[in-house]
């Protein structure tokens, strides 16, 4: 049986240095992170400046407009302050996810530490910007208006818990989706090779998991985009709390 977990292994390519006694290695994950950055940079740079855009330029401008509209609709025009951050997040996750679908590649976002770091970046941005912009009024975030005084303490507790569980739900959602998708793909694909090794009947039987693998790849393409979008829109909603606390 082919190990469906093998694709998530990190392989050291070289050592960057040490922090304390901890070795900091350049791994396959690092390579794919840099690949995503290079792909995004090349894509954005290579786009033409034509008045009437071609396909490639259209794609780049579409991604620009898409993220800009997502921010404007969920965080208001003031949210455009965070346009570079949100755009970087969306493109990084989206490109990593898409690259990860290609067989034999590594999926950066299938590691909880990566998605958690990105979610924590958003979480800390919200807290720091929220206090910087609103001062102590930022605490209004935990006190919804129009709530009877009797149940207000309960609501405040719930709000605080939900606020602090945000980075966890934010990161686990992306990580779990990518991980589960890739495991499923690998399991079905390994059925194909396993059945294919069993002679003619096995080869015929292998058609079913092969078809499923193709279908799942299509589904994973959608999930790759959808999870990047979900991460982005949640980022916008959280940033909206920092910009306009007190809902």
């Amino acid at each position: 049986m082919i190990d469906p977990i093998h694709q998530f292994h990190l392989n050291k390519i070289f050592t960057i240095g040490h922090i304390g006694n901890q070795e900091i290695a350049f791994t396959n994950s690092s390579a794919y992170m840099l690949l995503a950055v290079v792909l995004i940079a090349v894509m954005m740079m290579a786009a033409g400046r034509a008045l009437v855009p071609g396909r490639f330029q259209s794609m780049v401008e579409l991604s620009y407009e898409f993220v800009a509209n997502t921010i404007r609709t969920s965080a208001g025009s003031h949210g455009m302050t965070f346009f570079p951050l949100v755009f970087s997040l969306f493109m990084f996750i989206f490109v990593s996810n898409i690259v990860g679908i290609i067989p034999y590649t590594f999926t950066v976002s299938s590691h909880i530490i990566v998605t958690f770091a990105l979610a924590l970046l958003v979480f800390l941005t919200v807290i720091i910007y929220g206090f910087y912009k609103n001062g102590l009024k930022f605490f209004k975030l935990f006190v919804p208006s129009g709530i009877p005084a009797v149940i207000l303490p309960l609501v405040v507790v719930i709000e605080i818990i939900s606020f602090f569980s945000r980075p966890i739900s934010h990161s686990v959602r992306l990580f779990a989706n990518m991980l589960a998708g890739h495991v499923t793909l690998k399991v079905f694909a390994s059925f194909v090779t396993m059945l294919g090794a069993l002679g003619f009947v096995g080869k015929v039987g292998a058609l079913l998991p092969l078809g499923l693998t193709v279908a799942l790849t299509g589904l994973e393409l959608m999930v790759a985009f959808l999870q990047a979008y979900v991460f982005t829109i949640l980022t916008c909603i959280y940033l909206n709390d920092a910009i306009h606390p007190g809902h």
């Binding site: 998530f8 050291k12 922090i19 901890q22 900091i24 840099l34 954005m44 786009a47 970087s88 800390l124």
Partner: protein, 191 residues
């Protein structure tokens, strides 16, 4: 944010001091193997900071400028089209008013000419009528004089004839005065 990751990493580093990041196989589920976390965080920070700098400094301003330029070009073209449309509408309006005044003037000139012609033909007719009337009056006058002359001739002839008749009948010429009186009386009676 990079600092906070750094601190977290430092804390973990002590816990897993001797761990290595290579997949030495079999020990646990890779996404949960803590010894790989520091390496991944460092890589992610480097990659994401690079991406953020590229995106915020170069990529987004460039794409945004292209989109803005296009929006401006479209707005400019629309404004230009609106201006040209207004211009053509104004020209059309000017043409129409020009046409209306020209038509009015043509009508005025026509009416004037017609009036003038009518007046001159009226005057001509009047002159003609006058001259005809004068001729008629002259003719009537000449007829009247001719008739008067003729009548006076008739009186002389009648008187002559009467005196001749009386001479033939009586053998003696009557007094001219008597004959004339008788003729006058007779003419008066018949006239």
């Amino acid at each position: 944010m990079a600092e906070s990751h750094g601190e977290a990493k430092g804390g973990e580093a002590k816990g897993t001091a001797s761990a290595h990041t290579e997949a030495d196989g079999g020990h646990g589920f890779p996404p949960f193997s803590k010894e790989t976390f520091p390496s991944q965080i460092v890589s992610l920070v480097i990659a994401f900071v690079a991406l953020y700098v590229i995106v915020s400094r170069v990529a987004l301003p460039k794409v945004g400028a292209v989109i803005d330029a296009r929006q401006k070009a479209i707005d400019g073209d629309l404004a230009e089209a609106q201006r040209l449309k207004d211009e053509s509408e104004a020209a059309m309006k000017a043409y129409e008013t020009e046409l209306a005044t020209a038509r009015a003037r043509a009508q005025a000139i026509g009416a004037e000419t017609r009036d003038k012609l009518a007046a001159s033909s009226d005057a001509e007719r009047k002159a003609l009528e006058d001259s005809l009337a004068a001729k008629l009056a002259a003719a009537e006058k000449s007829i009247a004089t001719t008739r008067a002359t003729a009548m006076s001739n008739v009186r002389g002839i009648a008187a002559d004839a009467a005196s001749a008749i009386v001479q033939q009948l009586t053998g003696k010429a009557p007094a001219a005065k008597t004959v004339e009186a008788a003729v006058d009386a007779s003419l008066k009676g018949t006239a």
